[in-house]
């Protein structure tokens, strides 16, 4: 006689994680779908600065005291971040002068895009060499993407706006593999739920009228989400989609990554090699951390005084932390 064993259901932390993630996404989708402009303003106000701080904290924790075999990789990575950030800020702030025509600015921006793509391709190749694998196909991919970036720069830029939030999700996936492998399956289910929420949002919002653009701030938010590039799609849908994805990305950096990686908990500095090691740079590290915290607080004051201007300034300087993501993400592959 065959014996049938029924395994009792046991609620694990992975189940709780999955349930909380889906619930939070559902709540966010409802709120953001109902008030996209307001939520865009609120989320950037609350989370823009702190999520930068958490990213810096996370990267600092992953940085070894001595680079050893990774010296070339980190040199190219950090050098690229510095050079590309400086070039971007120059493009951003100097482009209004009378020497720069609109055409020349567009070409410089395309050159910057190309440099960025090739830099990432090079990082990938170097990481392949470290792992004793031939990842030179990264150059082919980089050149192909560079070509596309020249052909359709507007769609290229817009695609990047919508793809960026997924970088945080990728970081989280790599981190869960390392420190919480028992959550990996649940996290993959979380990732599958995101397209479901997006399809629901698109179904409900596709017929909505465009959002107001009566103020400069509203117009910037609409434009950031691609309302000028995709005029036939409701800007309500576009802004809601962008804010939804951005909110998940803030949620990942501020809550989920510290949850799965003890070294990312802000006050646990003893787990950070740069701070705790005898060969580290604890004073410089602490000073930089305090400065970053100060900038986050200053951003709140700036947003409170003049939201639109502070938003523009923040988004210009935010390029630094966005670029810094790449070397660390490649290193985790």
């Amino acid at each position: 006689m065959q014996e049938i064993r029924v395994r009792p259901f046991a609620l694990t932390s992975a189940h709780v994680f999955l349930g909380a993630f889906v619930l939070a996404c559902a709540l966010a989708a409802v709120l953001i779908g109902s008030f996209p402009l307001q939520l865009s303003i609120v989320t950037i106000f609350l989370f823009a600065g702190p999520h930068n701080l958490m990213e810096f904290r996370y990267f600092a924790a992953r940085m070894p005291v001595r680079w050893g075999r990774s010296k070339l990789f980190y040199s190219v990575g950090i050098g690229g971040v510095v050079v590309l950030t400086a070039a971007y800020l120059t493009l951003y702030f100097a482009s209004g002068n009378w020497l720069w025509s609109l055409e020349s600015w567009q070409i410089y921006a395309a050159v910057w895009n190309t440099a960025l793509i090739l830099w990432v391709g090079l990082l990938f190749y170097l990481r392949g060499k470290q792992r004793r694998r031939d990842w030179s196909i990264a150059f082919a991919a980089a050149f192909l993407l560079a070509g596309l970036a020249w052909i359709v720069p507007q769609y290229w830029s817009l695609a990047l706006v919508y793809l960026h939030p997924f970088v945080a999700m990728w970081f989280l996936e790599r981190q869960i593999r390392r420190t919480r492998p028992e959550w990996l399956r649940a996290y993959h289910l979380c990732l599958i739920s995101i397209p479901v929420f997006l399809i629901l949002l698109w179904t409900l919002l596709a017929g909505q009228p465009n959002l107001t653009q009566e103020t400069n701030l509203f117009w910037r938010i609409n434009q950031h989400a691609g309302s000028e590039i995709l005029p036939s799609i409701s800007s309500h849908l576009l802004v809601a989609t962008h804010v939804f994805l951005e909110s998940i990305h803030y949620f990942v950096w501020l809550l989920l990554i510290p949850l799965v990686d003890r070294r990312a908990i802000p006050w646990r500095l003893n787990d950070v090699p740069l701070f705790a090691s005898s060969r580290g740079i604890p004073k410089i590290f602490a000073a930089f951390l305090i400065f970053s915290a100060f900038v986050s607080v200053a951003l709140w004051f700036g947003f409170a005084i003049d939201y639109t201007t502070t938003r523009d300034i923040y988004f210009a300087f935010a390029i630094g932390h966005v670029l810094a993501e790449f070397p660390f993400l490649v290193k985790m592959l």
Binding site: G96, L102, D134, F143, W150, L158, H164, V167, L329
Partner: protein, 194 residues
């Protein structure tokens, strides 16, 4: 395949430097909306017209000019923003990079030793057909009805192209009070009765 997809996907994601920053506008500091005048356009088919004409009332032209004057460098922005297509620099740069992509991909395949003779032959055939298709479809223009402003462009058969255009004469009118588009509508000669 996985090896190929990972760097492609990674690079798409990784190049998100514009992502958390405001997407660049046509010019980073041109934050004002382009000039616009709300008006009414009437489109009329005219059997006697020899050419398409767009008639703009002088009063509305003055309003539009005033809007443009209110914007710093307004004329430059407007002209550049409305010019479509790819510039020569874009074409050359994109062509070079895509060519380099094929070269590097070919080198990688050759070095990886995964390129068998049959696969190479299949790849060559695919590229040949893709190239021919690109030439055929790239140079195939819309029918003449969609490339000249006449009454024929409103025919249901033209709807699939979702666009149309052609030469037009711009006129300024002191007497009209709304924008008018005069579209020639020549009559087809009727076939002789059998």
């Amino acid at each position: 395949m996985k090896k190929l997809l990972v760097p492609v996907f990674f690079l798409v994601i990784a190049t998100s430097a514009f992502a958390d920053i405001a997407r660049p506008e046509k010019s980073p500091k041109s934050v004002k909306k382009p000039a616009a005048v709300d008006t009414y356009l009437s489109i009329g088919l005219d059997r006697d017209a020899k050419e398409a004409r767009l008639i703009i009332p002088r009063s509305q032209l003055k309003t539009l000019r005033a809007e443009l004057d209110a914007i710093d460098n307004g004329s430059d922005t407007a002209v550049t923003a409305t010019s479509g297509g790819m510039s020569k620099v874009q074409t050359i740069a994109s062509g070079i990079f895509i060519s380099l992509a094929f070269v590097f991909a070919g080198i990688w395949f050759a070095r990886s030793g995964k390129l068998s003779t049959r696969a190479a032959a299949a790849g060559a055939v695919v590229f040949l057909f893709a190239g021919l298709a690109a030439i055929v479809y790239g140079n195939a223009g819309p029918p003449s009805e969609a490339r000249s402003i006449t009454g024929k462009m409103f025919a249901p058969a033209m709807h699939i192209y979702k666009f149309g255009g052609g030469k037009i004469k711009l006129e300024i009118s002191d007497t009209e009070d709304q924008v008018q588009l005069i579209v020639p509508d020549p009559q087809e000669p009727k076939p002789a009765a059998e």
